[in-house]
């Protein structure tokens, strides 16, 4: 994509900026618009309500109205807050969640970087989000914010371990850290997806399937905890902490936190889809191949990728409005006493099977 823009503009720096900003404007912003509305509609459906109905046909423009409202809001900085860090924190949080999109393969034709450290980069760069959240919580000079930030950081760094272990087991099986290559291995039909044992054949594939499903469940639960979604939303538990680390934020800064949260939701869903469900690969061949139209394939791949990502975002919403919130001690027990040991055993078993 960078090369195309370079041909078009002829300026290295300009084309670098454009290709870096592309996922934001082409994907994250429209996604956030749709996802916020979807969240409200899904929650309304689950609680037997109607949800937003007033703005636009069937309430479809509700999010647009909300964003216009947020634009106009006064930017309040509490007088005892640490102004520099208070203003820097939302940028840091958003930078962390946006940087993840650099390594996500949207389709065969569009991926930010083909770097060989792809998935490792994703795991590492999300730690910027933790630093940003701690910064926001501390700079607000508010006990709810600080408690929310500390809870959130503890939760994210704890749940990074099972995530990393499951990712490690997949990397061990595939022999690559590159997300594009990982996707290419799951090509052609859906039984080549890693949830069904990947491109392995025979007895190895059959043995792998149950452990892959266990790995997928562990990964999904821990990514859910990493993006602070219910049932793991104790950092912003309304009944205890008002709104957690962004209690003091208003207007655009709050909107940036919100955008970062939704960008994160899609990013982790995309990672789950890429690792276990074939990423941008179609579950059965492509229309482009059928009709012999080359340029149709990347578009189809982008479509499949979006559908898979959105499906996992929908599951996140589904869980949010179905399950109650965990207590802090339950959360930590679940991570350290159940998920990490299971992930370790799973890793060892997958390692043994891959040697057969």
């Amino acid at each position: 994509m960078y090369d195309i823009i370079l041909d078009f503009t002829g300026n290295e720096i300009l084309s670098m900026f454009i290709s870096a900003a592309l996922p934001l404007f082409m994907f994250i912003l429209p996604f956030a618009l749709v996802a916020v509305l979807a969240e409200r509609k899904v929650s309304a459906f689950m609680q037997d309500r109607l949800g937003p109905t007033r703005v636009g046909p069937k309430g479809l423009l509700q999010t647009v109205a909300d964003i216009l409202k947020l634009f106009q809001k006064e930017d309040i900085v509490a007088s005892n807050a640490d102004k520099k860090l208070f203003n820097l924190a939302p940028i840091l949080v958003f930078a962390g969640s946006f940087a993840v999109f650099a390594a996500i393969p949207f389709s065969g034709a569009y991926i930010g970087t083909f770097a060989d450290v792809g998935i490792f980069f994703v795991v590492a760069i999300s730690s910027l989000v933790v630093a940003g959240i701690l910064m926001a919580g501390w700079a607000s000079n508010n006990k709810y914010s600080l408690l929310g930030a500390v809870r959130s950081a503890a939760q994210i760094i704890s749940y990074e371990i099972p995530t990393a272990l499951v990712i490690l087991s997949l990397v061990m099986l595939a022999g690559t850290l590159n997300l594009y290559e990982l996707t290419e291995m799951q090509t052609e039909y859906f039984w080549n997806w890693y949830i069904f044992g990947g491109p392995a054949t025979g007895i190895q594939k059959i043995l792998l399937i149950p452990f892959m499903i266990v790995g997928f469940i562990i990964l999904y639960i821990s990514t859910l905890a990493e993006v602070n979604r219910t049932p793991f939303d104790i950092p912003e538990a309304e009944s205890e902490l008002v709104a957690g680390y962004h209690t003091e934020y208003s207007g655009m800064k709050f909107a940036i936190f919100f955008l970062a949260e939704y960008a994160n939701m899609f990013a982790v869903s995309a990672i789950v889809a890429t690792l276990f469900f074939g990423g941008f690969q179609s579950p059965f061949g492509y229309l482009g191949d059928l009709f012999g139209v080359e340029w149709l394939i990347p578009i189809e791949q982008f479509g499949w990728f979006t559908v898979k990502g959105l499906f996992f975002v929908f599951v996140q919403m589904w869980l949010r409005w179905t399950l109650p919130r965990l207590r802090v001690d339950q959360l930590m027990t679940m991570c350290w006493k159940y998920m990490i040991p299971y992930a370790f055993v799973n890793l060892i078993i997958i390692g043994i099977i891959s040697l057969i």
Binding site: I13, L85, D116, V117, F121, A124, G137, L146
Partner: protein
Amino acid sequence: MNLYDIIFYIFAAITVVSGVITVTSKNIIYAAFSLLFTFFGVAGMYVLLGADFISIVQIIVYVGGILILLLFGVMLTNKVTSTDIKSGSVNVLPAVIGVALFAGALISIIIRTKWTETPGEIPLSTAGTLGSVLLNEYVIIFELLAVLLLIALIGAASIARRTKEETN
């Protein structure tokens, strides 16, 4: 001046400026957060040098691990954040002599070294090579380090547990 030069100078500026803030700031939280940007700038330098794996390790270990732990410690000890770090000047003369000697040595090394310039190549990925070297040639050292880390982990856990039982 091409794109990579500009990126290099941006990362260099981030590293140096935030490093200076880390050392001079009297507020411990500011120092900790500017350390974050120093680590990040160094990681950027590694990428420009073609060491992609090392740069990611830099981020995951220093930013994601050590720095978060440091911030956690600072934030949980309430009295540290509200007071300034006490800094003054004592032993000025010995300090000046030491710093001058060290700076002179560094500058003379920088001037005397014959810098070789080679045309830039697209660096190859290092992750695979690094992995095979670590697990083939240096496998004993690698395993010993793993055991050492495990011992440290168990030691830390047992120390933490013992103090808890005593207070009960």
